[in-house]
Every structure is written in structure tokens, then in C-alpha cells.
């Protein structure tokens, strides 16, 4: 009994150790490649010089304007896809006919690489933040609308019938039954939407942009400032991990299952 109860935590600890060992091994390989095996420092700077650049980027506050642009684009893109996705998803979920029409349609569109619209968006909205916002909003719209349709569209009929038999009004039905039933599914979709919005905003910045973290990284690469570029990549990774952890925490708080 006590052994079984302890198992999951120990397994969790072990997988943590394996994960950390894996990362340490990568770092060791990287160091070996730059010091022992003679890989060019222009292609692959030494970990220590990347670390110095990373510390300098954070210490000097040089990252701030680019971070502001990228986070601004992300916030705008997510606000648009959140509003449109949840509203449309709810409206579609009210009719089994609309669900049958739109769920496969959206799922189909979601599976094509929407990044292909970037050149079009750049032509329409220019090189500034607007095209990045449009792309991020388009890509993150689909997981959000799909999860909202599924969340509201497939609520356990027994619960709805029970609430109806006790006299629930339409507003009460939404507040006490439909919304809490759909919430975990919608939150999963929102988390997914947030992740793909972040990916597409930074990704499209590296392709066509005037500012932002993605833009900065490409610029540094073009100037052959490799150590600093790696420092910025490390910075973006840190930001992404931070944001995703935050969003996962928020998601876990809204979950009852």
C-alpha cells in the first residue's frame, strides 16, 4: 500500500533526473564540440560566451523594446482569437446542425499550414506588427473555436435534463451547468491557442518584420554575431517557458476533472 502510494512520486523524481541528465549531456557535447573537436566558433560559439552575452542582454535591458513588440503582438493576436473563437464556438454549439457543418470544416482548415498566408498578410497589413497579429490570430483561432464547440456542444445530457427538471432558467443553465461543464475543454483549447500564437508571432518575425525578438535574432545572424544570437535564443526560450508555465497553472486552476 505505502509502496504503491510512493510509486508515482518516485517515478516523477526519476524522470526529472533523466531529463536533467539529458540536458547536461547536450551541454557537455556542445562544450566538447567547441573546445576539443574544433567546430568553428562562428557556427557554434562556446557555451560560456553565450552565457556572458545572455547575462549582458538581461543586465543592459537591451531586450526591452523587442520584447515589448513581441508581447504586444502576442497579446493582440490572442485577444482577437479568444474573443472570436469563444463567441463563434458558443453560437455554433447551440445547434447540432451547425456543429455537424462547422466542426469538420474548422478541423480541416486547422490541419493546413496557415503560415502560408504570411506573404498575403504582409501585403495586406505591411511589415509592422499588424501582419504578425493577423497571422497569430488566424492560427490560434482554430484550436480555440474547436474546443469551445466541443466543450459546449457535448455536455452530458443527464446533467442538462436534471437541471431542467429542477427548474433552471436559461441563464442558470449556462452559469451552473453548461459553463462549468465546458470550461476544462475550453481551457485546454486556450492553452493550445496561446502556444501556437506565440510560435507563429515569433516565427513570422523571423521571416518578415521591422522589430521584435524574432527580428532581432535574424538581424544578429546576418551580422554574424553568433554568441549574442544564441544569447537571444536562450532569452526567448526562457520567456516561452515562463509564459507556458503561467498558462498551464491558470488552466490547472480552472479544472475539476
Amino acid at each position: 500500500m505505502s509502496i504503491r502510494a510512493r510509486m508515482p512520486r518516485e517515478r516523477g523524481l526519476w524522470s526529472r533526473i533523466v531529463q536533467l541528465t539529458f540536458l547536461a549531456a547536450l551541454l557537455l557535447l556542445w562544450t566538447m564540440a567547441t573546445t576539443e573537436w574544433g567546430v568553428s566558433h562562428i557556427l557554434l560559439p562556446r557555451p560560456l560566451s553565450v552565457w556572458h552575452e545572455f547575462v549582458d542582454i538581461i543586465g543592459s535591458g537591451e531586450f526591452l523594446p523587442d520584447l515589448r513588440v513581441t508581447l504586444g503582438e502576442l497579446a493582440a493576436a490572442f485577444a482577437i482569437s479568444f474573443t472570436l473563437g469563444t463567441t463563434l464556438g458558443y453560437l455554433i454549439s447551440r445547434s447540432s446542425y451547425w456543429i455537424k457543418v462547422f466542426e469538420p470544416l474548422f478541423a480541416g482548415i486547422y490541419s493546413i499550414p496557415i503560415i502560408l498566408f504570411l506573404p498575403l498578410y504582409v501585403m495586406l497589413f505591411g511589415l509592422g506588427p499588424a501582419s504578425k497579429i493577423a497571422l497569430g490570430a488566424t492560427i490560434s483561432f482554430f484550436p480555440i473555436v474547436l474546443s469551445t464547440i466541443v466543450g459546449f456542444g457535448y455536455v452530458d445530457r443527464t446533467l442538462v435534463t436534471a437541471a431542467r427538471s429542477m427548474g433552471a432558467s436559461d441563464v442558470q443553465m449556462f452559469r451552473y451547468v453548461l459553463f462549468p461543464a465546458a470550461l476544462p475543454v475550453i481551457l485546454a483549447g486556450l492553452r493550445m491557442g496561446f502556444t501556437v500564437a506565440l510560435l507563429s508571432v515569433i516565427g513570422s518575425e523571423t521571416i518578415a518584420s521591422l522589430a521584435g525578438l524574432g527580428h532581432r535574432i535574424v538581424n544578429l545572424a546576418e551580422n554574424m554575431e553568433m554568441a549574442r544570437m544564441f544569447g537571444y535564443i536562450a532569452f526567448v526560450v526562457a520567456i516561452a517557458v515562463l509564459l507556458n508555465t503561467l498558462v498551464s497553472r491558470l488552466e490547472a486552476r480552472g479544472r475539476w476533472q
Binding site: 431542467r164 427538471s165 442558470q172 461543464a181
Partner: protein, 281 residues
């Protein structure tokens, strides 16, 4: 019968789908019954005989194709949360609410004043001996406890009528026996009118004042048997000769109907196979 009538069903028929459609089912055919105030009426019959449909028609969840139902003299046109409460087979508790919150939410729906809800919820939990599990979530309870919580929610609504759709159907034999005893005790105290759908012959005889036996599809009430035994019923009733005589009588009535129902569902299956094999085309 001179007793006051709580529910009156008159010539109720119900069909799902239109005649001629593949999914057309005549679930209930020209069924009439009066439920006296304070009695426990069991509906028993083969699968698909329309006993649950009749219960849902009584509760205003299903509008019958023809016929009418009145509850306390009022025609039923939709849910009547002030007059009757449901207990469903599967736990219809909201999984995101604790047991206590589930009961309070039910009263919120029904329109009970906020100041009264907590007291009434506590009283209902005491009635089913679940006080200690008020803060548990349904997922943390056993099947039997979940059904007791569902019963507590229905009791808190303080309706004159309880409609129970195989409430113990998913539970094991021992649990349902104990819950049956509890229900009998509760009933003897509360003077509620209860309509109780069940598959179990023993449960029907143990709980009911009268048992309505349904025929196979299209279902209608074939015969009503009175169980003349006061509530609360003791476990010893289950071993009494009278219990066995009634149970055997029910079995005799049901046996042919169940065979008929099984033969029909066999036929249905064969028809589906034909369609699947393209024999109809």
C-alpha cells in the same frame, strides 16, 4: 379508491420518430393510471416497454404524442419543479460541485430563498446520513453514496412527489437492498408520493404499495398488483411467504413479456443485419 390523487395519466401514448421512419418506435400505447397521494408506485417491465417514458411524461420532460397527465390537478406542460423532483439512474450530480453545493444549486434552480438553502441542504444530508461527506466531490464517492446524494438533492426540494428512474439500477445487490430499506423508512416519515421505475422484482415488491406491470413494446400497463404491507418495511419482510408469493406472481406476469420483448429485439437485429448486407436494397 377514495384517496386523493397526486398524478393522473390518461390515455398516454408516445412514439419516437414518425410512422414509416427507420427509427420509429411506439414506446407507449394508450396508458392510463392514477397515483394516489402518499403511495409508492413501482413501474416494472421488460426493457424498452416505455416505463421510463411514462415517468418522463409525468415529470413534464417528455410531451406525449397523445393523452394527458395532471399533477395535483394541474395539466403537465413542462417541468414542474415545485411539485415533483427526479432521481435519475446515472448520478446526475454536477461533478464540479461538492455534494453540498449540488444540493444548494438544485434549490437555487427551484427558487428557494437564499437564507433557507443551507439549512435545508443540511437536513437533507442528515436524512440520507451523508453529513460527513458534504464537502466531497461526486467523483470521490461510491456509487451508492452518489445515489444517496442525488436523493438528498431531490428531498431538499421538498416536493410532494418523487420520480425515480431506476435510481439503484447501477448498484450491486447488497447496496440496493440497504438503500431500499432506507427509502422505505424515509417514505414512512415523509408521506411523499413516489413513482419508482425498476427492473428488479424483489425491489418492486419490497418498496411498492402497488406494482404496475408493463407489457412488451408497444408498452402499456398490463396489470396492477397491490402489496398490502405497511411502511417502514423490515428486512424480515423479504423472507416472508407473502413476499415470495407476490414476487412469483410478478415473475409469472413478466416472464412472457420479457420473452416477447427479447424475440422482438432479435427480429429488430435481424432487420438491421439485412440492411447492413444490402438485402433491402
Amino acid at each position: 379508491m377514495t384517496a386523493e390523487i397526486a398524478i393522473q395519466a390518461r390515455n398516454v401514448s408516445h412514439q419516437f420518430g414518425e410512422a414509416g421512419e427507420a427509427r420509429h418506435v411506439q414506446a407507449l400505447l394508450d396508458t392510463s393510471i392514477d397515483v394516489a397521494r402518499g403511495e409508492l408506485l413501482c413501474l416494472i417491465g421488460p426493457s424498452g416497454c416505455g416505463k421510463s417514458t411514462l415517468l418522463n411524461v409525468m415529470g413534464g420532460l417528455v410531451t406525449p404524442t397523445t393523452g394527458s397527465v395532471t399533477v395535483a390537478g394541474k395539466p403537465v406542460r413542462g417541468p414542474m419543479p415545485r411539485d415533483l423532483a427526479f432521481v435519475f439512474q446515472e448520478s446526475a450530480l454536477f461533478p464540479w460541485n461538492t455534494v453540498f453545493e449540488n444540493i444548494v444549486v438544485g434549490m437555487t434552480f427551484q427558487g428557494v430563498a437564499k437564507s433557507e438553502r443551507e439549512d435545508r441542504a443540511r437536513r437533507a444530508l442528515r436524512a440520507v446520513s451523508l453529513e460527513q461527506f458534504a464537502e466531497h466531490y461526486p467523483g470521490q464517492l461510491s456509487g451508492g453514496m452518489r445515489q444517496r446524494a442525488s436523493l438528498a438533492r431531490a428531498l431538499s426540494l421538498e416536493t410532494g412527489i418523487l420520480l425515480m428512474d431506476e435510481p439503484f439500477g447501477a448498484l450491486d445487490e447488497q447496496t440496493r437492498m440497504v438503500l431500499g430499506e432506507d427509502l422505505s423508512v424515509l417514505l414512512s416519515r415523509s408521506q411523499k408520493t413516489i413513482v419508482f421505475v425498476t427492473h428488479s422484482l424483489g425491489e418492486a415488491v419490497f418498496l411498492a404499495d402497488r406494482v404496475a406491470v408493463f407489457s412488451a413494446r408497444p408498452g402499456t400497463i398490463k396489470q396492477v398488483i397491490a402489496v398490502d404491507e405497511p411502511h417502514p418495511r423490515k428486512p424480515s419482510f423479504m423472507t416472508a411467504p407473502k413476499f415470495h408469493a407476490l414476487r412469483d406472481q410478478l415473475y409469472g406476469l413478466l416472464h412472457d413479456e420479457i420473452r416477447k420483448a427479447m424475440a422482438e429485439s432479435g427480429q429488430t437485429r435481424r432487420r438491421y443485419d439485412d440492411v447492413a448486407n444490402g438485402a433491402d436494397a
